[in-house]
């Protein structure tokens, strides 16, 4: 982050529609040149937050700062941010060139300068040869890049992207992820990116704000959010995790001993817990074990009955049930010394002493959360 002020700063922003609270409290800053993602399931308030930064919505309470200036009540056309809309919202009656030139022309920049800037930006998005085409004559990926160029040509303080890849098919989406990163490096503009796809957020962002039901659950780097989630929601939403509820038995300098519901006792290393987790005796906590941290052995303390194995190419995903019928998942790398057990067998779960991580409270549903494991593995 630069010295001076952050590019975007949300100061206790709240948005309410009648009695419905879309955003309870958003309070974070986005630094210069950062690739920042707002991640959460639909209805979590991420798009509303983006609209408040763009100016299409005004906060009910709190303030929005751009480049240190309070813009909470400033209309969109007077804010130096630009948006890439979800379905791109390209002007169908204009050529690609005129679409990109729309912003500079609104600012009454002289036509020669407009021409240079537009052509330059079309080169950046690799659409130099398409200037004369109409949006309808372009593919989805090309339209996406026109939308990018149309926003970036104005050199905004921040570029806001509302689910920009949602309309593309998988292959194209992956290519565009790389393309977006390249463009962002090239222009050095702050990108604020809204997505519900955690794989996408982890792949692309420098930092992520994970949101749920109008609340910002955690803001941090992808690695931190994955390894050190602060809430049960984050632990379950990002990647897949085994969330095992239990009770604190004792805690000292070496670690915390937790008794899980199936009777197994787990020692969680000191410091391996969420900041808000209370370690006092008798407190209800959850132990998180990522599937790739679990090893299946023929002996140990935590007995698991295997119900299913799924071959995934580089690994085998093993699903089982604990003594108290909680579902757990383990990832066994293919070709490792550990042969994956088959369904119907009983094995024991083990892990490295540094693996267990402690979270406050009990989850709504105990056991493994199933999100797309492959995209996480590709990232981390």
């Amino acid at each position: 982050m630069d010295a001076g002020f952050p590019v975007v700063k949300l100061d206790n922003v709240r948005k309410q529609y009648g009695s419905f609270v879309a955003v309870h409290q958003a309070d974070f800053s986005i630094g210069r040149g950062e690739f920042f993602a707002m991640l959460g399931p639909s209805g979590c308030g991420k798009t509303t937050t983006l609209k408040m930064i763009a100016g299409f919505e005004q906060p009910t309470a709190g303030r929005v700062f751009l480049e240190g200036e309070d813009v909470s009540q400033v209309p969109p056309h007077k804010r130096n941010v630009n948006t890439v809309f979800q379905q791109y919202a390209l002007f169908p009656h204009m050529s690609v060139f005129d679409n990109v030139a729309f912003g500079p022309r609104s600012k009454k920049i002289n036509e020669a300068e407009v021409k240079t800037r537009v052509n330059e930006m079309l080169e950046v998005v690799r659409l130099g040869d398409f200037a004369a085409r109409r949006p309808a004559q372009l593919s989805g990926g090309q339209q996406q890049r026109v939308a990018l160029a149309r926003a970036l040509v104005n050199y905004p303080s921040a570029l806001l992207l509302d689910e920009p890849l949602a309309a593309l098919d998988l292959k194209l989406r992956e290519a565009m992820q790389i393309e977006l990163k390249r463009i962002q490096r090239e222009v050095g503009i702050t990108f604020v990116f809204v997505t519900h796809d955690q794989g996408e957020a982890l792949t692309m962002s420098d930092r992520i704000a994970v949101m749920s039901e109008g609340l910002v659950e955690q803001v941090g780097a992808p690695v931190d959010i994955y390894a050190r989630p602060e809430t049960l929601f984050v632990a379950g939403f990002i990647g897949s995790a085994n969330l095992l509820p239990g009770t604190v038995m004792s805690s000292d300098g070496a670690g915390t001993r937790v008794q899980l519901l199936d009777g197994t006792q787990v020692v969680v290393a000191a410091g391996n817990s969420a900041p808000n987790a209370s370690l006092s005796q008798g407190n209800q906590v959850t132990v998180m074990l990522r599937p790739e941290q679990v090893v299946l052995e023929s002996e140990g303390s935590m007995k698991v009955f295997i119900t299913d194995t799924v071959f995934q190419g580089s690994s085998v995903r093993v699903v089982g049930r604990t003594a108290n019928d909680t579902e757990v998942t383990a990832i066994v790398p293919a070709g490792s010394n550990h042969k994956a057990p088959s369904a119907g067998e009983s094995v024991f779960m083990q892990w490295h002493a540094s693996a267990p991580y402690l979270l406050e409270g009990w989850p709504e549903t105990a056991g493994s959360t199933n999100t797309n494991v492959d995209s996480i593995e590709a990232t981390l």
Binding site: F56, K78, A89, L90, P92, H93, F102, G103, R150, A151
Partner: protein
């Protein structure tokens, strides 16, 4: 298909008569039956190939019989001459004098029709566009109902609506008395809307009637073109530093041009040829070409002149529409 159309026109326009005509009818029937026969007996390929022609057939037959054939006989009539005023069977003689007479004697009526129709078109646009805009963007769940209300006048006959206007604008009618109570006569006189304290039988009344009667034809196509516009385009243009009015001028208006174009045609063309409004709401000084044609056809029984006048009207409208289309550049709009 073209041959079929020519055949029907030939019959209807009496190019062929007697035994030849009977032969032609036989040929036409045989060809139609043959196409149907091939379609039934032929395989899927043949049916697929013939399907478009089959679908065209009813339309072509209908138009040949009731549009092309009468058009041809009208054209023939416009070049015919009468031996005397009471000769009711004019002879086709390539008599172009009907056209010179139509152009010279009726120049004022042609001019007036164009002027009135143009003003009515502009007025319907000025009234209809905001209305269509409001229904399309602010109508919400009442959209369908509001559109229905736009079409409600069609439940009453055109003639009756115009007669109702006659009552409204009459010297003893409500509009005149309200205007007098509000002391607006002087302004209205100054605007040439009122003439010596009268609203009826003025050009303004004729134009008002045209505007009223053709307004829905402007609203509906504009509504259709506005309704298709993605409102996020307005958001996008605001995001790109335009004000609300700039967004309208640069995005919404250009995208609704096809609707404006269609609406203008639907209002201008019938308004230019209209004879009802001029007859009921106008005076001899406001006669439009439509009423002159009607007069020549039905009162004077001068068919050749009336036919020539109709053809001039048709030609002038076609040319002006083509110029308008070029000016609007509609082929450029998706």
């Amino acid at each position: 298909m073209v041959l079929l159309a020519v055949g029907v026109v030939a019959l209807a326009a009496e190019w062929v008569t007697g035994g030849l005509a009977t032969g032609l009818i036989a040929v036409l029937i045989v060809s139609v039956v043959a196409i149907i026969w091939i379609a039934i007996m032929g395989g899927l390929e043949a049916r697929r190939a013939l399907a478009p022609y089959g679908l065209l057939k009813p339309g072509i037959l209908w138009l040949s019989l009731f549009f092309l054939a009468p058009l041809w006989s009208m054209f023939e009539m416009s070049l015919s001459s009468k031996k005397s005023r009471f000769d009711f069977f004019p002879k086709f003689t390539w008599d172009w004098s009907n056209y010179t007479k139509a152009l010279t004697d009726y120049a004022p009526q042609f001019g007036r029709s164009f002027l009135y129709a143009s003003i009515a078109t502009i007025l319907t646009l000025l009234i209809g566009y905001p209305l269509a805009y409001a229904i399309a963007f602010r109508g919400g769940k009442y959209r369908t109902m509001l559109l229905g209300l736009v079409a409600v006048p069609f439940f009453t006959s055109y003639l009756i609506r115009t007669l109702a206007w006659q009552n409204l604008l009459a010297d003893a009618g409500p509009v005149v008395s309200i205007m007098k109570t509000l002391r607006l006569e002087n302004i209205l006189e100054w605007l040439h809307i009122m003439d010596n304290g009268r609203l009826i039988n003025t050009p303004a009344a004729v134009i008002g009637g045209l505007t009223y009667n053709f307004l829905p034809f402007m609203i509906l196509p504009i509504y259709v073109s506005l309704e298709k516009i993605d409102v996020r385009l307005v958001d996008a243009s605001m995001d790109l530093y335009t004000t609300a009015s700039g967004a309208f001028r640069r995005v919404v208006l250009p995208l609704s041009m096809p609707g404006i174009f269609a609406g203008s045609l639907l209002v201008f063309i019938p308004a230019a040829g209209d004879f009802v409004n001029a007859k009921f709401l106008g005076s001899p000084e406001t006669t439009m070409i439509g009423s002159s044609i009607q007069d020549q056809f039905l009162v004077q029984l001068n068919y050749p002149l009336a036919a020539a006048m109709s053809f001039v009207l048709m030609a002038v409208i076609t040319v002006s529409v083509l110029i308008y289309a070029r000016f609007m550049g509609t082929e450029d709009l998706a």
